[in-house]
Symmetry: C2
Subunit: 229 residues, 2 copies
DNA sequence: ACAATAGTGTCTGTGAGACAGTATCGA
DNA sequence: TCGATACTGTCTCACAGACACTATTGT
């Protein structure tokens, strides 16, 4: 790099914006907060935190997820870095977007200190509506939505949206929601057969045939650092 | 975000690191510079620039490419953002890696002002060797190499490594280099048939049958902002 | 004619898609 | 027995892989 004197270059604020996705009522939802300060007071925004000087980006993302949801150790991955000059009208902020996936059962709310509330927002409805979203967050959400649809095809990303043990109909519903189309049962089962392993457990109590519970194979959900392109 | 007073948060240096790839002598190469200052004096490093307060990340990448190669308008895309705390021993630098692809014929050298030289380095050799690379740049290169191999399968990224008009044997060689394996002619041609269109031109002068020149279809190489996941 | 590379025809196996059928629970 | 959902068998078709074959240049 040309010139290494730090004082020669203006430094920038770097934030991590979080897209915490879950599935509720057969819909893809994500966690958003309502801003209580200008700009965009009263408008929905993605939760986020500033990156501290002595924490990595992944650390900042994990911290943000913890502060926002109370959860530790859930799946997340870096999505993209948004660096438009006018993203935030007050100051230049580079935002590294992170996407987290968590089954609804694990998700507990925990409103941030400076926000009047946090909700699960229907991703599809938000993207199709004309409702304003703070900053460039709608664009970020649109990109995340697109990436999710892609990655479900060739990775095990869908497993992060179901519990550790799940039925195949449950898993299929997650695939269908992410892909935005319905799938044939028999074909779906053949497709995921290599990614899962049976458990001894079955569902019970429903007024129909019980469903076997499965687990994702270890190697399918294991995260390889930056290798989730 | 919790608290918007900029002064409350330390700002960070943000750099763009560039991976300019090309194909030379049937090998994947990338542009690297030899550092002439500590740390890592005499060691190979990726070229990079600091992001200025009033330029976007893409602008910074384009500027870096221009400064390093003299080229304008070549294909590039954001790769990943590396935010380890100890990446640079002197100070905290967040680095947004960008990958650029250019056919060798367009690539002209233009050594940076503060570097003693710039070369095309064989990507495979570099990754397999024990030779040191500055900072975490070897990890960045390894990720880029992996991403290239992936994207060649389902995108038109290979077209950016051949000239605007190319023969199918040429294109096939690029695919083989990126994939790291040889392909069957007939199958390859069927695979890319939908991505290309014939021209009127043929090669000539070689001591064998001439080869038809093709062009990539517009929609295959058109870049959709952040949608190159 | 020959060397060298460009380009084609076709067989096969695999896997996705479509659909019809069977299985097993509670009520 | 019935409604509801879980699960399976199998046909078809598109496509990737493999390989043998033909085509066209310069020397």
């Amino acid at each position: 790099m040309e010139g290494y004197d730090p004082s020669k270059y203006e430094k920038l604020s770097v934030a991590v914006d979080l897209l915490v996705f879950t599935v509720e009522d057969n819909r893809l939802k994500l966690l958003m907060i309502e801003r209580d300060e200008d700009p965009f007071a009263g408008i929905l925004a993605l939760p986020g935190v500033f990156v501290r000087v002595n924490e990595t980006l992944d650390d900042a993302a994990a911290r943000g997820i913890r502060e926002e949801t109370g959860l530790e150790g859930i799946y997340f991955e870096q999505l993209y870095t948004f660096g438009g000059v006018e993203r935030d009208p007050r100051m230049r902020i580079i935002s590294v977007a992170y996407m987290a996936l968590v089954p609804l059962e694990q998700l507990v709310f925990h409103a941030g200190a400076r926000t009047s509330g946090a909700w699960l927002v229907d991703a599809e409805e938000l993207l199709e509506s004309e409702d304003p979203v703070a900053f460039d967050h709608k664009e970020i959400i649109r990109y995340a939505r697109w990436r999710l649809a892609n990655k479900v095809e060739y990775t095990g990303i869908a497993f992060h949206l179901v519990e550790r043990e799940f039925t195949l109909p449950e898993l299929q519903r997650v695939y269908e929601i992410l892909l935005g189309k319905s799938l044939y049962k028999a074909n779906f089962r053949k497709k995921v057969a290599g990614l899962i392993e049976e458990t001894e457990h079955m569902t019970s109590g429903d007024a129909h045939r019980p469903s076997r519970l499965y687990r994702a194979k270890e190697e399918v959900v294991r995260r390889r650092k930056t290798e989730d392109g």
